[in-house]
């Protein structure tokens, strides 16, 4: 069978490739998204003291270490059966919001904006962050400033930008100082201005991307996200809820103790990334999406005034749920606005400088599950320990795993739309990549790269003849 291979996919977090299978007539028959690196964290943490897990798990990734730190600490909280002091909870929430801000800024401004600003068909030599710097310097300055803000908050709270500490089982390691709070608060108005500016710009561009909106993983699916009793966007605490494409609740009040009744995990021969699915429907029908699009579809309110106004406008895109994955980008900007507003209200909370920020305990349970919303979607850490507090088994269900079936389905949809005949075009190649990029998959690429990674796509006939080839 003729196969097109895109290897690696660029401007995503990590290394992956896509293969597209053509039939004898040259029509797209199938498509697969493969993650080609193995990390092995679930295995090599076995035997380690559970208290080491937050620091170990943060090393899974250089982009979202804070999310793993939080989910891991929550799993350890569960093992210790502790109640986190109120101030400790709020400080953890601020850390999570800063993580969402910096990660969404990276995704939108650095990774995806070249497609929006320079066009899907632009020369790949130009369609990158440097192209944006040259042609849209204000947008580039805004992106740098917004990400810088998020990282500075992480550094202020956690001691460093990448792999910060501070969040520990039981709460956070030390209280917030008044000058740290004031420093963060002083920078929020500018960050909000930048986010509004990006939102206005993006909304003005939507008409230019009608074809992509129609074909970028635009299909009915289930959605999974955290929920709470107020039906506001839940980023840190709550329970899990599945809704269908019409926003009907199909499963609710799923917690750490019963998530495995609802979430199944499949291993694939051609990828190191597991595929998860809604267990009651099975792996074929149980595809769902997580992340900003799922969260905005599910919540009734963002919980902050400016983000609420944006949510109302976002809702006007569709009658029920917003189904096109192209709108992940839009949802990311609204979530950034929410994060900044919520961060400000938490920092202005009268208890935020409180000294009681950590609870101490020894293990009170042999099992613990931590669930929270990472920038890319729902993140679950599940640990079992032995009598000595050593890890017996660990299971991590990450956002990109939740989205894996939808990414595959999306790649197929976009390939069918754009891959035509025996001639490959850069614009086609980029659209196949861009649908993956819309999900902002994080494949844990914290290793310092040596050398330049090539991108190659080949169109191979059934007799093995190379019909066309593109290389970057």
């Amino acid at each position: 069978m003729p196969t097109i291979t895109i290897d690696p996919i660029t401007r995503i977090e990590g290394h992956a490739r896509v293969t597209i299978q053509l039939d004898e007539q040259g029509e797209v028959q199938g498509a697969r998204f493969h993650v080609t690196q193995v990390r092995g964290f679930e295995k090599f943490c076995e035997g380690r003291p559970f208290t080491e897990m937050p620091a170990l798990m943060a090393r899974i990734c250089g982009i979202c270490p804070t999310s793993h730190l939080l989910a891991s600490s929550k799993a350890c909280d569960d093992i210790m059966a502790v109640r986190i002091p109120e101030t400790g909870q709020k400080l953890r929430r601020i850390m999570n919001l800063a993580q969402i801000t910096q990660s969404h800024a990276l995704s939108f401004f650095y990774l995806s904006s070249p497609d929006f600003l320079l066009g899907m068909d632009a020369d790949p030599e130009e369609r990158n962050i440097m192209g944006v710097v040259r042609k849209f310097p204000q947008m580039a300055r805004d992106g740098i400033k917004l990400r810088q803000f998020g990282q500075r908050v992480l550094e202020t709270l956690g001691g460093k930008r990448v792999h910060p500490g501070w969040i520990v089982p039981g709460g956070v390691s030390h209280p917030l100082q008044a000058e740290q709070r004031d420093q963060i608060l002083a920078e929020i108005p500018e960050a909000i201005r930048i986010t509004h500016s990006a939102l206005q710009w993006f909304k003005g561009q939507i008409e230019n991307f009608r074809v992509e909106i129609r074909s970028f993983a635009n299909f009915p699916s289930l959605f999974l996200a955290m929920a709470n009793s107020s039906n506001e966007l839940a980023a840190y605490s709550g329970w899990l809820r599945f809704v269908d494409a019409n926003l009907n609740i199909v499963a609710d009040h799923i917690t750490g103790t019963n998530y495995q009744n609802y979430i199944g995990e499949d291993c694939n021969d051609d990828s190191y990334l597991k595929s998860t699915y809604f267990k009651p429907l099975g792996p074929t029908e149980g595809m769902y999406r997580v992340g900003p699009l799922a969260r905005l579809n599910m919540c009734k309110s963002m919980g902050t005034p400016q983000a609420n106004e944006e949510l109302a406008e976002f809702r006007e895109l569709e009658r029920h749920s917003v189904l096109s994955s192209f709108y992940y980008h839009y949802a990311r900007l609204i979530e950034t606005l929410f994060s900044l507003e919520r961060m400000r209200s938490l920092l202005n909370d009268s208890e935020i400088l409180g000294k009681n920020v950590r609870a101490h305990a020894t293990p009170n349970s042999f099992e613990g599950v931590g669930v929270m919303e990472a920038p890319r979607g729902t993140l679950i850490h599940h640990y079992r320990i032995d009598q000595n507090g050593l890890i017996e088994s660990a299971n991590m269900v990450i956002a990109t795993g939740h989205n894996n079936l939808a990414i595959n389905h999306g790649v197929l949809q976009v390939a069918r739309q754009f891959v035509k005949g025996k001639i490959l075009e850069q614009g086609m190649l980029n659209r196949v990549e861009a649908v993956v990029r819309a999900f902002d998959p994080c494949l844990s690429c914290s290793t310092h790269a040596v050398g330049q990674m090539p991108l190659e796509i080949q169109l191979i006939a059934s007799d093995g003849e190379v019909l066309d080839q593109l290389r970057r």
């Binding site: 250089g62 962050i129 440097m130 710097v133 990448v162 310092h448 990674m453």
Partner: protein
């Protein structure tokens, strides 16, 4: 007095790739008036920071060259090549970003030390240690000559 930024980057868990951060940590006490930064990899946010300095010295490991040797290269914003990967931003790219976005970039140099072993481990190889001595000598000379 000239404001100097010294940036050492590399992965401290990949053998000689740690040359940059380790050299900067060794030099830090000898350069009290220099701002020292160590990081895994360079990111676009550093472009803005560069504009606050008169001189920037980047320190990195190299996989090519005679193991144990080190070399200096002057950087300019014009030497930047394509930069599609945010995970792998080059110093020259940062210089170009600083010049284009903020209309200012410092005098800048890249000091590279040729490593020999980039396996998954902490600590330098024998050639790596030799390269670090060379790096430190070159960086000190560069900074002391210009401040």
């Amino acid at each position: 007095m000239a404001r100097v930024l010294l940036v050492g980057y590399g992965n401290t868990l990949r053998g000689d790739d740690a040359l940059g951060p380790m050299a900067v940590e060794r030099l830090r006490p000898q350069l009290p008036d220099t701002d020292c930064v160590t990081c895994h990899q360079l990111s676009p946010e550093l472009a803005q920071r560069l504009t606050e300095y008169d001189l920037a010295v980047f320190v990195d490991a190299a996989a090519d060259g005679e193991p144990g040797s080190a070399s200096v290269q002057r950087l300019s914003s014009e030497t930047a090549k394509r930069a599609s990967l945010t995970h792998h931003v080059q110093p020259a790219t940062l210089m170009m970003m600083a010049r284009t976005l903020y209309d200012r970039s410092p005098d800048a140099f890249l000091v590279t030390g040729a490593g020999a072993d980039f396996a998954n481990r902490e600590g330098l190889s024998q050639n790596g240690r030799k390269a670090m001595d060379e790096i430190c000598r070159l960086v000190l000379r560069l900074i002391l000559e210009r401040t």
